[in-house]
């Protein structure tokens, strides 16, 4: 057991840290569109310095970073409050799918513009009637001349209005069992059969969109991994979650916690027994999340799969973020409850943390079934 970084790891961290220090893009602008353009420029800069897609193999323009290097990179990004790259879905999901399952032509066509953010990707998985039960999705693709014709509706799509490509999971065989009848497509968003509508959230913002496909066309060459293999293709990247994501999210919650502690001290509330207890609880949770993620990462490096600690990280993170913003709102009182203020936004936005990217309820099912081996209720 040794939690210190090796010399090489330390050198890597220093390199990341100094680059981020010198190239700090500063705070993000207000407004969705401005924020997007800012993140696109930021990714462009990252790409030029070789920091976009660091987990990708070198032959495809990545850095071939080890799991621990990826974790270090994510931690440093969080520490420096660096914005995420604009094409995060392309980098984390689209690119890795093409690398793992795509043809040589597809790699040639799609990978470079993902890294440079020249082409933004979005993810067309969830549907109004298929959330946790993703494999029940109904969007249909039927054969037509030179490819496929798509109709259906997707929801909760980030950057759909900015995206050139959509990772589209559609049903190509209605007779097959639900997991077997799906195919993975890369669908061009710039066509008449695709309509994007913003989806307003409880925060008042529209971070997400709905996509309506009405006879949209996908070329045959944009099918990835073979007809009927869509579930398997989609799941490979979901399983290889970003290494160190838990550790990085712990770093940013820890930063938020420090900010909250400062706020409490400034208001002279540090001697309140209830607040002290809630802070202690959050502190332990944040550190347990960080350390559990590092344990999972060690396990993943040693045996290829993350340990059970990893499967609770998402659940832990969501709960911590929610509790933290609740305490902040209690400390600030009504001033935190005016729309448009930072903490009112965080309070409301964090409500989605236990839903997005796998609900906490589904995470518990996963822990129960895959880690503890309990029977499934089917």
């Amino acid at each position: 057991m040794d939690l210190t970084l090796t010399q090489e790891e330390e050198a890597f961290r220093d390199e990341v840290r100094s680059w981020l220090g010198e190239n700090d893009p500063g705070p993000e602008p207000e407004g969705e569109e401005a924020k997007f353009l800012f993140r696109r420029d930021w990714q462009h800069k990252m790409h030029e310095a070789g920091w976009a897609g660091i987990s990708w193999p070198k032959e495809y323009g990545g850095r071939g970073a080890s799991l621990i290097e990826q974790a270090i990179f994510s931690e440093e990004m969080a520490r420096q409050k660096a914005p995420p790259p604009a094409n995060v879905l392309g980098l984390v999901m689209g690119g890795p799918v093409v690398i793992a399952h795509g043809s040589e032509d597809q790699k040639e066509r799609f990978l470079e513009p993902i890294l440079s953010a020249a082409e933004i990707w979005c993810q067309g998985f969830s549907e109004p009637e298929s959330g946790s039960d993703l494999a029940s999705l109904k969007t249909k693709a039927v054969r037509e001349n030179g490819g496929w014709r798509v109709s259906g509706q997707k929801v909760w799509t980030t950057y759909a209005h900015e995206a050139k490509w959509c990772m589209l999971l559609a049903r190509t065989d209605t007779d097959a069992p639900k997991h077997k009848g799906l195919t993975y497509f890369i669908c061009d968003m710039e066509q008449d059969g695709v309509e994007v509508r913003p989806l307003r959230q409880i925060t008042g913002e529209a971070e997400f969109n709905e996509i309506f496909f009405e006879g949209a066309h996908v070329d045959e060459e944009n099918l990835v991994g073979g007809e009927g293999n869509g579930w398997m293709v989609a799941i490979t990247t979901l399983m290889h979650e970003r290494a160190g994501l838990g550790a990085a999210s712990a770093i940013s919650v820890r930063r938020d916690l420090d900010e909250l502690i400062e706020m409490i001290n400034e208001r002279g509330l540090g001697d309140d027994a209830v607040i002290r207890d809630r802070i202690a609880e959050l502190k332990m949770g944040v550190e347990a999340l960080r350390l559990g993620s590092l344990r999972a990462l060690t396990q993943q490096m040693k045996v290829g799969i993350p340990g059970p600690e990893g499967s609770i990280a998402k659940w832990e993170w969501a709960m911590l973020n929610q509790k933290l913003t609740e305490l902040a709102a209690d400390v600030l009182g009504p001033e935190a409850l005016r729309p448009g203020t930072e903490w009112s936004y965080r309070l409301l936005r964090s409500r989605a943390n236990s839903i997005e990217g796998g609900t906490t309820d589904v995470m518990k099912n996963i822990v129960a079934e895959r880690v503890l081996g309990l029977p499934r209720l089917r």
Binding site: D2, G285, A288, T298, K364, V371
Partner: protein, 332 residues
């Protein structure tokens, strides 16, 4: 970065798990608890394996390993709910090692390392202090939080007390005088709290396994109860609590040797979280087991009771959380 056990540590863990499964199954724990006495053979075997001296330096007859190795053993002994004076002796060793003079270390650590002249220490602040395994000890630490001192057991008044945890022996100990401990007792106590956090983590792990095994077998309404989400989500919660306690405990053990400046916060987090986790998980296990878990006949109550008493010793969760709040930066 490697947040896992090395080969030697892994081997210690496996040896401990195997030995305790053979020599101290829950049937043996029950026997010891019902007769309120420790099986001599188990302690003799533990001594032969050199466990009592695992974290004591070789100069004093120990194995010269560290807190990580001690935590591994302590977790396994908690998992087995083993009736032995191992933990109290180990904590006494940690406190004397950090808080004693060279002379005190020379005098007592050898006996603690071999188990020949056991040590123990008061685990609560009131007077007279509550001391685990005082009877049969050679040396006892009293008033560790206020005016720490060592007394020879032969000079002390030892009044055995029965607590709900019958898998361990307890006594109220009072004595006049003794030799003051003038070194870094606080660090010794922090390490001790980490060793106890490890035991509590092991208890939580065992209770979770008992509950999960039962949830797979027990049928109601025509299917195993573990298929119901009310039950399976409760079990998932047990893993959550146990893993958080484990991560914080291993981290604190590592800090003790490699990053001592982080030990105070790490040890308070570990003991607070492990205390809460052990109690919560044993309770959740009882709920999953239902009626059978409430019977004397089932073994769960030994774990539940040891969890409760352990959570009160060497600082309860409330005390440790209070320290966490301060060390996290809250102004008082």
């Amino acid at each position: 970065m490697d947040f896992g056990f090395n080969d030697e540590q892994q081997a210690i863990k496996e040896t401990a798990r195997e030995m305790l499964a053979k020599r101290s199954p829950l049937t043996a724990v029950r026997e010891a608890a019902e007769s309120r006495s420790y099986p001599d053979a188990l302690w003799a075997e533990i001594r032969e394996l050199g466990w009592p001296g695992i974290a004591i330096d070789e100069e004093h007859g120990g194995q010269g390993l560290g807190m990580v190795e001690l935590v591994i053993l302590s977790e396994e002994l908690g998992y087995a709910c083993a009736p032995t004076p191992f933990l109290s002796n180990a904590i006494a060793g940690l406190v004397i090692d950090a808080g004693g003079s060279a002379e005190q270390r020379d005098r007592w650590l050898g006996g603690i390392a071999s188990g020949e002249g056991r040590g123990s220490i008061a685990g609560t602040g009131e007077e007279p202090g509550l001391v685990p395994d005082a009877e049969g000890a050679a040396v006892i630490g009293l008033d560790p939080m206020t005016e720490p001192r060592l007394v020879e057991a032969s000079d002390a008044n030892i009044e055995p007390v029965e607590l709900i945890d019958a898998t361990r022996e307890y006594a109220r100990v009072s004595a006049d005088g003794g030799e003051p401990l003038e070194g870094d007792v606080a660090t010794g106590l922090q390490r001790g709290a980490v060793a106890l956090a490890a035991e509590l983590t092991g208890i939580a792990q065992r209770a979770m396994e008992l509950a999960v095994d039962y949830a797979k077998e027990r049928q109601q309404f025509g299917r195993p109860i573990g298929a119901y989400q009310a039950v399976s989500h409760r079990c998932a919660g047990m893993l959550y609590d146990t893993e958080e306690a484990r991560s914080l405990t291993y981290y604190a053990a590592w800090c003790s040797g490699a990053e001592p400046e982080s030990l105070p916060l790490a040890s308070h987090m570990a003991k607070a979280r492990a205390s809460d986790a052990a109690w919560r998980v044993t309770n959740d296990a009882l709920q999953v087991l239902g009626g059978i878990g409430f019977t004397w006949e089932h073994d769960l109550h030994f774990l539940l009771k040891r969890a409760k008493v352990g959570s009160e010793l060497f600082g309860d969760a409330r005390m440790h959380r209070e320290r966490v709040a301060s060390l996290a930066g809250l102004a008082a």
